[in-house]
């Protein structure tokens, strides 16, 4: 089983798995229902802040997006492994000459790809702002980078949750709960005893996201997103191995 860590990664296998996941997603009507819902909700948050406070800003909208992700990411990732368990196709894919790493990576990247497309579609809103005012471009770019980082992290949680169970609803709920924990961790520090504050502040996505939206891209935050994603990635790998 260690061979999975040792052996070389065949990128072609990752690509083949990625391609199939993307095709399956975009071939199904569910994809468009989920995407349209996502755009409607984000659009509403975007426009409501603008018209409420009458300012051409995306700040309020950016605060709310990580919350929307908590619902949206699990909906995308829940089927990645669960469906294969349920239909038994995991047995096909696991007996192909591909490693567990390649399977997980292909599925992970597909989840991330779908999220990235969704996030880029919402770029439409800030671009609209360009016509009516002069928003700070650096902030927009930084914020969108931050959103991609959060998506990357949440997707790794979602993939992990999906690798636990063949029940998509359970996969959805587990990833929802874990994502919610990381979402809320940075927001509840005000009511917690001192020694927990710095820990939760580091664990939660808030502080890291706030830095990036301010235009501060530092290695500390980037390391946070990558190591957190890697943590759940490794848990997924363990999970796949335990099932053997």
């Amino acid at each position: 089983m260690n061979q999975n860590l040792e052996s070389k990664i065949n990128f072609n296998n990752i690509w083949v798995i990625f391609k199939r996941e993307m095709k399956t997603f975009f071939d199904s009507p569910m994809a468009y229902i989920v995407l349209v819902t996502f755009l409607m909700i984000t659009g509403w948050f975007f426009s409501s802040t603008i018209f409420l406070i009458n300012q051409a800003t995306i700040d309020g909208y950016l605060d709310i997006l990580p919350l929307v992700f908590i619902f949206f990411v699990p909906a995308i990732t829940m089927r990645l492994f669960s469906e294969e368990y349920k239909s038994g196709t995991i047995e096909i894919i696991a007996t192909m000459p591909v490693t567990d790493n390649e399977i997980i990576m292909g599925k992970y990247l597909a989840g991330f790809g779908i999220m990235a497309i969704s996030i880029l579609l919402t770029l439409f809103y800030p671009i609209c702002l360009l016509f009516v005012s002069k928003p700070h471009i650096g902030t927009i770019i930084g914020s969108y980078l931050g959103l991609l980082f959060i998506a990357m992290f949440y997707i790794s949680i979602g993939v992990f949750a999906s690798s636990i169970t063949k029940n998509q609803i359970i996969a959805f709920l587990i990833s929802f709960i874990i994502c919610f924990f990381f979402f809320i961790a940075g927001k509840i520090i005000g009511i917690l005893p001192g020694f927990l504050v710095s820990v939760l502040e580091y664990i939660g996505i808030d502080s890291h996201f706030n830095n990036i939206t301010k235009g501060l891209i530092n290695s500390r935050d980037i390391i946070y997103y990558f190591s957190a994603s890697a943590f759940f990635y490794i848990l997924t790998l363990r999970m796949i191995n335990i099932r053997k």
């Binding site: 089983m1 061979q3 052996s7 065949n10 072609n12 296998n13 083949v16 798995i17 199939r20 095709k23 399956t24 071939d27 199904s28 239909s87 038994g88 196709t89 995991i90 047995e91 096909i92 894919i93 696991a94 007996t95 192909m96 000459p97 591909v98 490693t99 053997k244």
Partner: protein, 326 residues
């Protein structure tokens, strides 16, 4: 070619495979036979690398399954139990996906595809969604998947389950046609299937091999397995004494006796045909035989005896080749 030694598999604390060993040579068609839950599927899943063995050594094509699973997977084609497929895909996309994942080179994918489409007879459904196919066609797609990379070893878990009789025959013919070039392992709990397609049968029960040998000689697995029913005219009280000293009888029971008819059940040692001796003895004693019926145990009976505990027949693992005529 396939070397399995002391294979053990636990699911948690439950033992599914309890130390089995066997050896399969190139070109053999081997049937794994056993009741549901005997450990057939588990064994096949371990051979294909889907599950990891708890302990034991497996060598396939000179590769150790723990060290070189990828090399082994490249050379095995596998049709899992209940034939899982990506139902939302169409047949051609699915086979392309498998071919790419199998690492078949781009320039020969087309020719491999057209070969397999021809062999499995799925030309008419290539552009249909898999979910819309009939069960027989789904099975063909499953088999195409297993053979697309022209593997040396083909492992099929219950390849004909759920098919109608015509489809079963088609699939069997397909398997038979492959016999020259490939080593095939299939599992089933349908006995006639083994008789129809396999050279060799390995019977598994409760995670253990209870019999292993040529299909044609399967009824020798159980000793004392031929029965002769004899009906004699008139009520004869001392039949037991008359017939019991005939050489080769292992058991003699008087089944039924009335003033018009006496019915005997004679069990012989295996491979011994007692009809002539019984006839001669009856003539000697001036008894009239109305009926003589010899029952050779069917595969079903052998299977039942080997896999059911309460049957008293000696059901220990028997190697046919070493058996002497007793």
């Amino acid at each position: 070619m396939i070397d399995v030694k002391d294979l053990v598999k636990y699911y948690g604390t439950e033992q599914a495979v309890a130390g089995i060993s066997f050896n399969i040579t190139p070109g053999e068609i081997v049937g794994f036979l056993g009741p549901n839950g005997a450990g057939k599927t588990t064994t096949l899943r371990i051979l294909t690398g889907y599950l990891a063995a708890t302990s034991g050594k497996i060598n396939i094509l000179n590769y150790d399954i723990e060290k070189n699973p990828i090399e082994i997977k490249k050379r095995i084609g596998y049709l899992p139990e209940s034939n899982p497929l990506y139902y939302e895909m169409n047949v051609l996309d699915y086979l392309m996906f498998i071919a790419e994942l199998r690492g078949i080179e781009k320039n020969i994918i087309k020719s491999r595809l057209s070969d397999i489409i021809y062999v499995c007879g799925i030309k008419d459904v290539l552009n249909k969604n898999i979910s819309n196919l009939s069960k027989g066609y789904k099975q063909r797609v499953g088999i195409s998947q297993a053979m697309i990379h022209n593997p040396d070893i083909l492992i099929m878990d219950e390849p004909t389950s759920g098919l109608d009789p015509n489809q079963i025959i088609e699939i069997r013919d397909l398997i038979k046609n492959l016999r020259k070039e490939k080593t095939i392992i299939l599992s089933t709990h349908i006995l006639s299937e083994v008789q129809a397609t396999c050279d060799r049968v390995i019977i598994i029960n409760k995670g253990k091999i209870v019999a292993d040998g040529k299909t044609s000689e399967i009824n020798k697995f159980v000793t004392g397995n031929e029965e002769l029913t004899v009906k004699l005219k008139g009520g004869i009280e001392n039949t037991a004494e008359i017939f019991s000293d005939i050489h080769g009888i292992s058991e003699l029971n008087v089944k039924n006796i009335s003033h018009a008819l006496t019915e005997l059940k004679i069990t012989s040692k295996h491979g011994v045909d007692l009809r002539e001796k019984v006839f001669n003895r009856a003539v000697e004693k001036k008894l009239i035989i109305l009926e003589q019926t010899r029952t050779i145990l069917s595969l079903e009976d052998v299977f039942r005896m080997l896999t059911q505990d309460e049957v008293p027949h000696s059901a220990k693992k028997t190697e046919i080749n070493n058996e002497s005529e007793s």
